[in-house]
């Protein structure tokens, strides 16, 4: 996983609430067995509309998605995160994310930043009038800077540290694997096992 400290880029306003993961990447794209190439399926139902914001040349090359509330609801598919990353997004801003989506994005290194809806509205207006406005997302300083505005955000220290160091969770847990073995030694005997198979 790449380290994330700060990122500067342009932003796309996605004025929709409740964008579920079926919209981000429809099920037909989930049949692949790799983690790459999902950019073609990103928001695929909406992409056929030339007016859809991702199709506007003014926003080409944008790396920050500014979404409405309840982004990433629905299915647990991590393919939604990969599709956003494959397309080139580094950060998603929203006033509220679905839990599983947020967890997935943090594991995969896509930064999800929670800002108040008023701040999202402000950023929408700015990038709608001036699509090339530069936006900086600073994980170290915990703020989003756009024009003369600074929007502070909260993120738990542990997640922030992991993202800034680019550490993967499995490696971290492996350091505690003796504790896992000790726990297993104390587990109740009546807990079910899947092997051998009983019909």
């Amino acid at each position: 996983m790449d380290k994330f400290v700060t990122h500067t880029g342009t932003a796309i306003p996605l004025r929709r609430s409740n964008v579920d993961t079926d919209q981000i990447i429809p099920a037909v794209y989930l049949k692949r067995v790799t983690k790459s190439g999902f950019e073609d399926g990103l928001f695929s139902a909406w992409r056929s509309d030339p007016e859809f914001v991702l199709n506007k040349p003014a926003y080409s090359g944008a790396t920050i998605l500014v979404a409405g509330p309840d982004f990433g609801t629905g299915s647990s598919r991590e393919h939604a995160v990969w599709a956003l990353q494959n397309y080139g997004f580094k950060v998603v801003l929203s006033s509220r994310f679905a839990d599983i989506f947020r967890g997935n994005s943090q594991k995969a290194g896509l930064l999800t930043v929670i800002l108040p809806q008023e701040a999202i509205e402000e950023i929408w207006q700015l990038v709608e009038s001036e699509p090339q406005t530069s936006v900086t997302v600073d994980l170290d300083a915990k703020n989003v800077r756009i024009g003369s505005k600074i929007h502070a955000f909260q993120i738990d220290d542990y997640t922030r540290w992991r993202l800034m160091e680019g550490l993967d969770d499995i490696g971290l847990t492996m350091k505690k694997i003796d504790e896992v073995s000790a726990f297993e030694g104390k587990r109740a005997d009546f807990k079910p096992k899947t092997l051998p198979a009983l019909q």
């Binding site: 609430s17 299915s75 839990d99 499995i170 726990f183 009983l198």
Partner: protein, 465 residues
């Protein structure tokens, strides 16, 4: 200190915890299917890691599998590759797999409970958001992403931040024709699709206690639609009786030890929930969704809402877009909405009890000429049981189709899809745009409403027959 049920199960599974870090939680059971696992197994291979506990891991094929001609190779090459990849991975890593054609194959959330490997007090995960279903047994069960699937395969643990707890008290008695599906649709309409976010929901109260295990699974299944990662119900005699005769239920002295543990699994009388809401079961009516998220639902005898009446600008916009997508006009009585397809199945309502309830209504009747009825059992075992009871005949005689087990039209990854603008009454759990096929329009309903709708051709409840 007094604890809620979710807090008790959490505490019993902490491997290690430190200040300002997520807890490392032990996972008792990991369920796997073909869609969210290939990249996780790839990760293990790359790192040279084994599956730590194949004996706590089980896989089935469900999302992609066809429900017709299952004795032939899967026609869609991409689906076939994914299923073949699962088979190869399970073989390589020693994971038990129930493949298409096997009597235990089926939707992962139907298979766990029917095998009896879903038991009270467990932590259960799966790369699928409807893992919350298993919470019906008083287990802490939740969906995870593929990175987490790999993490569990490698370590049998997950680093997690403890969620808050919310009590949802459903008190009273359901009227005839009102089901557990209507309870959960009403809850989601009340608290919204983000209302449960960050919480584990605990469903309590007399109306919940009165539900069968199947009914409880339907309620817990849709916790995720309210934004909650998990929902659970304290185990009781109904739970114990259901688990007892299942293949993987504890035996002999183990059963006694398990039972005495399970009986401790309830929220202490003075436990404090972070939030608590109450629903009156006496007032509930059969529910149906009119929009494109599961929170956009109303009692069936209402009219399509008018977005202009919604004060919140964000919600108003969402309602306007939903009505356009759904092809509905404000003010239209929902009961006059004609549907093309009825889908009876999924991990929400594809269990034997759901099929029985629908068959009861369809018995000796014909479905409307204008509709097709697709009946897809949740597992091969449900299918066999239904056939033993003659339910297949009832559906076929009524003019419906009787299919093999799988997710099918719940998400349309296999050939069972809606066409653009085709309208469905569906017993599944998501009415998102395009969920059941590009451009398809979904109304979420209970099995009873599905059956009545099939007969009349318009959204209907059994009392309309």
């Amino acid at each position: 200190m007094s604890k809620t049920l979710a807090e008790k199960i959490w505490a019993d599974h902490i491997v290690s915890s430190a200040a300002n870090e997520p807890d490392l939680l032990y996972i008792d059971l990991h369920l796997i299917h073909e869609v969210t696992s290939p990249q996780a197994f790839d990760g293990l291979r790359l790192a040279g890691r084994p599956v730590r506990r194949p004996d706590l891991t089980i896989a089935t094929e469900d999302h992609n599998v066809p429900t017709l001609n299952i004795d032939q190779p899967i026609a869609d090459p991409v689906s076939k590759l994914q299923v073949d990849t699962l088979r190869a991975n399970c073989k390589e890593f020693g994971v038990r797999l129930h493949s298409l054609g096997d009597s235990q194959q089926g939707i992962v959330h139907v298979v766990g409970p029917q095998l009896g490997i879903t038991q009270p007090g467990m932590t259960i995960v799966c790369g699928d958001s409807h893992t919350s279903t298993h919470g019906a047994f008083g287990a802490l069960a939740f969906g995870i992403g593929t990175s987490e699937v790999e993490h569990v395969l490698a370590t049998q643990t997950l680093p997690l931040i403890r969620p808050k707890t919310m009590a949802i008290n459903v008190e009273g008695t359901l009227k005839t024709g009102v089901t557990s599906k209507d309870i959960i649709l009403a809850i989601i309409a009340k608290i919204g699709t983000g209302g449960g976010q960050g919480y584990v929901l605990e469903y309590r109260g007399s109306a919940i206690r009165a539900l069968s295990m199947e009914g409880r699974m339907t309620v817990c299944n849709m916790s995720i639609e309210a934004g909650a990662r998990a929902g659970l119900i304290a185990p009781d005699e109904t739970t114990f009786a259901y688990v007892k005769d299942k293949p993987h239920a504890p035996q002999g002295a183990d059963w006694d030890a398990a039972l005495s543990y399970w009986k401790t699994l309830n929220s202490d009388a003075d436990a404090v929930f972070d939030k608590e809401i109450t629903i009156n079961a006496d007032d509930l009516e059969p529910f149906v969704t009119w929009g494109t998220n599961p929170g956009q639902g109303l009692p069936l005898n209402s009219n399509v809402p008018n977005p202009a009446d919604i004060t919140d600008a964000e919600e108003r916009g969402a309602a306007e877009r939903a009505l356009t997508y759904m092809g509905l006009t404000a003010g239209t009585p929902l009961k006059s909405v004609a549907v093309d397809t009825i889908f009876l199945g999924s991990c929400t309502n594809g269990r034997i009890e759901d099929l029985r309830a629908a068959a009861d209504i369809l018995k000796g009747k014909k479905i409307a000429d204008s509709v097709r009825l697709l009946v897809v059992p949740g597992s091969a075992k449900v299918r066999l049981q239904a056939e033993a009871e003659g339910l297949d005949k009832v559906f076929l005689d009524a003019g419906g189709e009787w299919r093999n087990a799988g997710c099918s039209m719940c998400l349309g990854m296999n050939p069972d899809q809606l066409k653009p603008q085709e309208r469905a009454a569906s017993t599944s759990n998501r009415n998102f745009e395009g969920r059941q096929g590009k451009g398809g329009r979904t109304h979420l309903v209970s099995p009873l409403v599905a059956a009545a709708t099939a007969i009349r051709g318009t959204l209907s409840s059994p009392s309309d027959l």
